[in-house]
Amino acid sequence: MPAFSLSAEPFSPEALRVELADPACGGYASFEGWVRNHNEGRRVLRLEYEAYEALALKEGERIVAEALERFGVRRIACVHRVGGLAIGELAVWVGVSAAHRDEAFAACRYVIDEVKQRLPIWKKEHYPEGDSGWVNCERCAQPSAHAHGHDHVHPEPLELEFSSLTAARAAGYELVDVRERWERDADPPGLRITRHLPLSEYMNGRSRLDDLNDGGRYLIVCAHGVRSLALTEELRAHGHAAVYSLRGGLAALRA
């Protein structure tokens, strides 16, 4: 059985868990991703996953190999569903066995995070209103691409959730850090967000954000998602359609 696989049918983690058993292991950690009945403020009825199978299998194996190497765990397996899924169904499973629990948890977390960001797999949500949408794609589509075939207006959420800043950038958002300078000084070196506009400066003279109406999509970021949400509401009220607030702020990413 390969360490990473795609399954067009429902599968039971129990059989896979047994495969990870090893007398040298004192810990086992697993993660299950389930189909949720809502996303970004809309009710969801069911999902379809579609994979670019040849590349997804290669990339999945690479992720597992990286986790084995990086965390020194004993065994890893990961299965991702493709095809149609109902609410509550198991969509992805990761299992890790290791000598000790710390590395089992860490490797499990690494695999699911990388799977979400790197695997060429797409998710189509079906909504009660009869329409559907490709997650993370619809906002990257140009206005002419609103292909639902009807003319209702989707309520745009103010807040968006991302697992990392990399994921937000990959989804096509330009990040705007509105924390104060002293807050940024304490950041770890890798975190720096290029575009910085302290909220205090915006409050002093509000012309500085006019260029946020240039057709791009902007994700406003602060420490806990409070200031960024307030600023997003303010900007929306002033006609900036494509600004969003990172829910929970940077603290949510580091948790």
Partner: protein, 80 residues
């Protein structure tokens, strides 16, 4: 002219109205090929929000195309 095998997934498959096609093109790079097909099929996805794969490996938009290459444009992913 070269002959390139192009596969479409997810939102791009919906927009292109097909899963794959054989394209005769003068495009030198993967990026030029996407721009050409975006116009032909009305693909309304920004290139810088996507990745590209050539012969089942991630590549970049500057990748020089050769006849027989298999190209897949990769919209923002959403596994998990």
């Amino acid at each position: 002219m070269k002959s390139i095998e192009v596969h479409y997934y997810a939102i791009l498959r919906d927009q292109a109205g097909r899963r794959s096609e054989q394209v005769e093109t003068g495009a030198a790079t993967a990026g030029e090929l996407f721009d050409e097909l975006a116009v032909r099929h009305g693909l309304a996805l920004a290139r810088d929000a996507m990745r590209v794969a050539i012969n089942d490996e991630f590549g970049d938009w500057q990748h020089s195309l050769r006849s027989g290459d298999r190209v897949v444009f990769i919209p923002p992913v959403a596994g998990g």
